[in-house]
Symmetry: C2
Subunit: 103 residues, 2 copies
């Protein structure tokens, strides 16, 4: 069962680890190990998160030998992030924007 509900979809953006993964993949596809190293999280934690992200089609996967390469569903994700960035710029004081970017 995939994309059970909208709140399940948004849950993938409402969490530090997942959001870091999304942000990271914004600049290109990566395998699991690299993602884990870059965001400093355990491999298994990353895998669990990646599962949920792919379940909702926020990420795509491709097998490459023994690696699995994850990539962003840019069609959906980029526009959403841009909307939120715009929202924050418009509605939130400078200090908050800074905080957001440091996550």
């Amino acid at each position: 069962m995939k994309c059970k509900s909208y709140n399940l979809f948004f849950m993938n953006f409402a969490n530090k680890t997942k959001l870091e993964i999304i942000t990271l993949l914004r600049s290109g596809p990566l395998n699991v190990k690299t993602i884990a190293r870059k965001i400093k999280e355990e491999q298994s934690a990353v895998s669990h998160n990646l599962k949920k992200l792919t379940d909702c089609h926020i990420l795509d996967v491709k097998n490459l030998g023994k690696e699995r390469v994850y990539s962003l569903n840019r069609d959906t994700v980029i526009p959403i992030l841009k909307l939120v960035e715009k929202h924050v710029r418009k509605n939130c004081p400078k200090s908050c924007i800074k905080n957001a970017e440091n996550n």
Copy 2:
């Protein structure tokens, strides 16, 4: 401190109650009591949720006598919801769309 981070923003969409409030206010502003009645939640629970929604400027408030009337920040919210609806339509099997709509 408002909009501390992006995941805080998305948290407002990643929860049944908040999402119901957002959906409800899509068709116009309402006071707290009415919201609580319509979504069948306790008034205090609704108030707690409304606070977070306004903190992130997803909702606006106006005082009207002893009532407080909450309204949607349509500029941000409507486009985001439309993007997600499109995403679900495109990526998720029919059964899932149904599930999503029943939440």
